[in-house]
Every structure is written in structure tokens, then in C-alpha cells.
């Protein structure tokens, strides 16, 4: 994985501290061209990996990328599935069974609901696989070397003790897409234990990692211990602690942590993107100097 990964929250009005800022982003990125323009700035700054949810609008971005293979030849997308609000709203409206009926391709779920089919354990893993395939459709022909499960699903399954789905996700992503499975979580210590027990060694985990213990459930000390042991390949997200830490200080902290393979960040302006990249590069070079 590359050292710096570009995120997509700013494109979809996801802002953890201000509804007003979220509205401003929603206006700024109304057109797909505004998203592409910002992605191009990120690419020009040396970032070639875009980590994004499987939001409907990403399908349009994928179309644009596919049309210009030369320009985007080194460009990689790390899909994060599912776009949870799509399903959450559907569950509110249609219930759990109705949602599955709507989003799982084919007649599989209808047959299950009618009870016309005998249940076997593998059925539910198969439903998940069909849902992964439906989410992956929009990325056809695009390089997706790592595929993530969104934190709300990872953590829901984690709390419910449904490890088999986490393992099943990893297996399907590897076998069908020849990609590495990744997990986004707000509960890294707990998740890592469960994945290791399930036989997944050195998993790719994207977690909130910052100086102020923001959304680091299980506690900062547990996170730092895991990092020092190098038991997983970590992408640090929410490095600014939801805006609580000044950018320079936040990046210095996370850049100097051991075994953080990548840092994920999102920004809307050219200046913010370039500053962030420069700051991370600066700290990495300082580190190298110390090592030498």
C-alpha cells in the first residue's frame, strides 16, 4: 500500500464536527467534475490511491476513470463497502428481509423467505457474496488491490460475534477479486483478536488513530501496543481527531508511529492536499535520517 491514501468523506458531505461544513461540501461537490478535479490535484501531489465508499456517485467517477486509461494508468481504488446509509434507509423502509430482497441480485432471497429452499449454513455466506459482487460491479476494469468492509458492518458483526462473515468476506475478496481484504473499524484491538483467532494473520486494518484518543475504542495504549508489535498492516484514519488537533501536530504524531503503513486523509482544497502530503513526506524523511 502507498504511504498516503486519499479519502472521500469531503465529496459526500461527511463531516464529523459540523453540519454547516457538510452542507458547504455538498454544494462544492455537486458535480462529478468537481470530484474529478480534486482527485487530479491529489494525483498531481503524488497520491495514487483513492479509498472510497460504494456510493452511487462513485459509479460515475469510475466511468470517467475508465474512459481515460492513459491518464489513470497508475490509479488505484480501494472500495469500501457498503455505503451504509443506503441500507440503513432501506431497512427503515422495508425491514431487514425486504432490504435483502431489494439488494441481493436474483431470486435467491425471495426463495429463502418463501421457505421453498432448505436452509444450509452456506446460504447466508452466499447472500453476502452476492451482495459483495453487486457492490463491486461499478469497479469493473479498475485496479482495486484492496477491498474494505465499512466500519459500521465490521463492528456490527464484531459485536454480534458473527466472525464467520468477516472471514467469509476475506475469503471471497481474495478468491473472486484477487484482492487483499481490508477491515475498517473503530475497535481495532477487539477486531484484531477476533481476526487472528479466525486464522487471518497480519490483516489490513483501517482504524482511527490520533493523538487525542478519538474513536480509538479499547484505548490509545492498546492501539500503541498493537502497533509496536506489528501484528497488522494499519491504515491510520481520523488522524486529526475529528478536527480537535492542529494538522501539523496530528501528522507529526501519526507519521512517527511504528508500523502505520498508510495514512488516509481527505481534503477539498489544493492547498490542504499539498500541505498534508508535504508534511507527511517531511516527517518520513526525518525518520529515515534518524534511522540512518
Amino acid at each position: 500500500m502507498e504511504r498516503i491514501i486519499f479519502g472521500d468523506n469531503q465529496f459526500f458531505a461527511v463531516n464529523h464536527i459540523s453540519d454547516e461544513k457538510s452542507r458547504a461540501q455538498s454544494i462544492k461537490f455537486k458535480d462529478d467534475s468537481a470530484i474529478i478535479k480534486t482527485l487530479d490535484i491529489a494525483i498531481a501531489s503524488g497520491i495514487n490511491t483513492f479509498m472510497c465508499t460504494t456510493h452511487d456517485r462513485i459509479a460515475n467517477i469510475c466511468d470517467i476513470i475508465r474512459k481515460d486509461p492513459k491518464k489513470y494508468q497508475d490509479f488505484k481504488i480501494y472500495p469500501c463497502m457498503p455505503y451504509a446509509h443506503k441500507y440503513a434507509n432501506a431497512v427503515t423502509d422495508l425491514g431487514i428481509a425486504g432490504t435483502l430482497k431489494q439488494y441481493v441480485p436474483g431470486n435467491f432471497v425471495s426463495s429463502l423467505l418463501k421457505g421453498g429452499m432448505a436452509y444450509i449454513s452456506k446460504d447466508f455466506i452466499s447472500i453476502m457474496e452476492l451482495m459483495i459482487d453487486a457492490e463491486m460491479k461499478m469497479f469493473k476494469g479498475i485496479n482495486t488491490p484492496v477491498i474494505f468492509l465499512q466500519n459500521v458492518i465490521t463492528d456490527l458483526l464484531l459485536g454480534l460475534g458473527m466472525t464467520e462473515f468477516l472471514i467469509g468476506f476475506a475469503k471471497h475478496v481474495k478468491e473472486k477479486y484477487n484482492a487483499e481484504p481490508g477491515f475498517i473499524t473503530m475497535n481495532l484491538p477487539k477486531l484484531l483478536d477476533v481476526l487472528e483467532k479466525g486464522g487471518i494473520k497480519n490483516p489490513i486494518i483501517c482504524a482511527s488513530i490520533n493523538k487525542v484518543n478519538f474513536r480509538m475504542s479499547g484505548g490509545k495504549e492498546a492501539y500503541e501496543k498493537i502497533l509496536s508489535e506489528g501484528r497488522c498492516r494499519v491504515i491510520a484514519m481520523q488522524v486529526l481527531g475529528g478536527g480537535a488537533i492542529p494538522a501539523g501536530e496530528a501528522l507529526e504524531y501519526v507519521s512517527n508511529l511504528p508500523n502505520v503503513e498508510s495514512i488516509l486523509f481527505g481534503a477539498s482544497s489544493k492547498q490542504n492536499i499539498e500541505n498534508t502530503v508535504e508534511t507527511i513526506n517531511y516527517h518520513d524523511q526525518q525518520q529515515k535520517r534518524v534511522v540512518l
Binding site: S26, G95, L158, N187, G242
Partner: protein, 337 residues
């Protein structure tokens, strides 16, 4: 270990179940739901004992406490049966279809001394907690007026009917969405006890209201406006906000950001004259397990602690939810006049 059972493994039920499953002091002894597919998955992959009859479940599993997350119309009878069996109860919101039912449950809970809580999670949101403390300390002077709002994209086109679109099951924007705002106002300012005018408007739904607009008054004589619309797709998810105007200042808060204006030189520690902005990230305590917002984990943790006798059990009690049901009913009745 507190032995917990859950009735209703829908969206809220599964969320509670996951947080409970990760809680170090909780043992999940049973789950009751009527959707076969959900039950099959929970039995097979989580290993929970599942039931389709909740009374049978409590008889066999003998839980200390039960989470009730079924449609509101079933709350009254289920909660009553549970209390009569000496079981602590956490019920989802809105509490009951009418305030008479909630009153009866409140009295019963008090009489039995059992722990009782309703899932109005906003009271566990850092910004709103801070608003409560600012108001309790009288920091913006005498409160003259408020505006309570909630908007979100629940029903954004004409579509299939479910329990949320059935008024007799507790569906509709007033019951489901506006109840959050009303409960918050009742807690922060004082219970809404009059309604001068209200409009319950359907936009896409056939049988229920999709928006609620009301002019109300509270026990302490504060006037206010409620404006709630769950058919507003300019919001990515539910956004609840409150504006409180006082003689010495003004508070504007949503679940993310708190803005406070102080007119003069009297202000609490950490604030100053003019505008002050604070973010939920600075006002939130970390939780042991995070699923979809610290407040969901915090309210469950509070309930578990209450069962263990470690809190006063006075946040989101049945009594406060009963008052909210009364306010809801006032607004509803006014609109049909």
C-alpha cells in the same frame, strides 16, 4: 454479569445486540423475533438462543433485564408483563402510543423499583449534555423562546407501506422523528404542556404525517417552535438541532457542534463574551465499544450500570418518556382540531 434478553431484532434491536454483545459485563441469554431469517442467522452465527414468544423466552432464560425494540404499539403490554415479572426494562422510543399507557408503566416501574430507561439517545450526546449543563447553571439568563428542529431523508418518495407508515403502530414523523426533538426540549428547557397550533402534514406517505410544525409552550412558560420533516433529502442522515434564546445569550446546538453567544461579561468557565464554538469531539467521552455513535454505547452502558445499582437511573426514565408522550399527544390533538 448482567443477564440480558432482547425482543425485536430489527434495526435498533441489532444495534443494541451488537453493543451488548461487546459489553464486558453482559451475557446475552435470549433473543426474540418473528422473522425466521433473522432468527436463523442469529442462532447459527452468533449462537444466541432464539424465541418467537417473548414470555416463553423470559420464563426459560430468566434475564435480569430485557431490551424491548419492537414497534411502539407492542411496548405497553410487553413492558407491563416484564415489570410484573420483576425484570428491568430498556424500551425503545417512542415509549407508548398514548400517555395513559406510559403513565401506567411509569407508576408500575416506580412501585416495583425496577430500572427503567427509554432509548432517547440524544441525552447521551456530548453537545446536548453541555447545553443541559449551561442551562442548569442559568448561563444565558431567562429563557424566552426556542426552536427545535429535525430533518432527514426517511420518506423521500411515495412507496411501500410498513409499520412506520401505520399510525396505529406508532409510525409517522411526529411519533418517530419529532419525538426526539420534543424529548430533548422537555429535558433541556421544561416539559411542553401547551400547543397553540400545529400542522401534521403528509408529503409522500398516504396514512401518516411526514412533517410536523407546531407552536408550543412549556411548564416554565417558555414559548417555542417545532419544525420537523423526515422527507428532506438535503440531509444525508437525521440532523437534530435546537436554538435557545435567553436574556443573556443564545445557544445553537446540533449533535456535532455547539455554538453559544454571551451578551455580557458573565459566562461560564471555558467560554467568553460573544460567540463560542465547541465540537462534540471535545465534549465526548470515549466508549469501550463503538458502533454508530458514542451515545448508543453510552446509553446502554448507563442502563447496565443502573441495573448494577451504580447510577441514579434518572436519565431517560419512563417518567420522562411519559411526559414526552404527553407532549406528543398535545401536538397531535391540536392538529386535528
Amino acid at each position: 454479569m448482567t443477564k440480558i434478553a432482547l425482543i425485536g431484532a430489527g434495526k435498533m434491536g441489532l444495534s443494541h445486540l451488537s453493543i451488548l454483545g461487546a459489553h464486558p459485563n453482559v451475557e446475552i441469554v435470549g433473543v426474540c423475533d418473528t422473522t425466521k431469517m433473522v432468527v436463523d442467522v442469529l442462532e447459527r452465527y452468533s449462537g444466541y438462543k432464539c424465541f418467537s414468544d417473548y414470555l416463553k423466552m423470559v420464563e426459560i432464560t430468566k434475564p435480569d433485564a430485557v431490551f424491548v425494540a419492537v414497534p411502539t404499539k407492542h411496548h405497553f403490554i410487553m413492558v407491563k408483563e416484564l415489570l410484573l415479572r420483576g425484570i428491568h426494562v430498556f424500551a425503545e422510543k417512542p415509549f407508548c402510543l398514548n400517555p395513559m399507557e406510559s403513565n401506567e408503566l411509569t407508576i408500575l416501574a416506580k412501585k416495583t423499583g425496577l430500572v427503567n430507561q427509554v432509548g432517547y439517545h440524544n441525552k447521551f450526546v456530548g453537545t446536548f449534555r453541555e447545553v443541559k449543563s449551561l442551562i442548569e447553571n442559568n448561563s444565558i439568563g431567562e429563557i424566552t423562546h426556542f426552536l427545535g428542529e429535525a430533518y432527514g431523508p426517511v420518506v423521500i418518495k411515495k412507496k411501500s407501506e410498513n409499520w412506520r407508515s401505520d399510525p396505529s403502530e406508532g409510525g409517522g414523523c411526529l411519533m418517530d422523528y419529532a419525538s426526539h426533538v420534543i424529548d430533548l426540549i422537555n429535558d433541556l428547557i421544561s416539559p411542553i404542556n401547551s400547543c397553540k397550533g400545529s400542522i401534521l402534514k403528509s408529503i409522500y406517505s398516504k396514512n401518516v404525517d411526514d412533517s410536523v410544525y407546531a407552536l408550543v409552550g412549556t411548564e416554565l412558560g417558555v414559548s417555542g417552535v417545532i419544525s420537523v420533516n423526515w422527507s428532506d433529502e438535503t440531509y444525508r442522515k437525521m440532523s437534530t438541532s435546537i436554538t435557545i434564546i435567553g436574556t443573556e445569550g443564545k445557544i445553537e446546538s446540533d449533535a456535532n457542534e455547539l455554538k453559544v453567544y454571551y451578551k455580557g461579561d458573565k459566562f461560564p468557565k471555558g467560554y467568553s463574551k460573544g460567540w463560542n464554538v465547541k465540537y462534540v469531539t471535545d465534549l465526548t467521552e470515549e466508549v469501550d465499544f463503538y458502533l454508530r455513535g458514542e451515545e448508543y454505547s453510552a446509553q446502554i452502558d448507563y442502563f447496565i450500570k443502573s441495573v448494577a445499582g451504580e447510577t441514579k437511573n434518572n436519565i431517560n426514565s419512563f417518567e420522562s418518556a411519559w411526559k414526552t408522550d404527553k407532549s406528543i399527544s398535545l401536538i397531535k390533538n391540536q392538529s386535528s382540531l
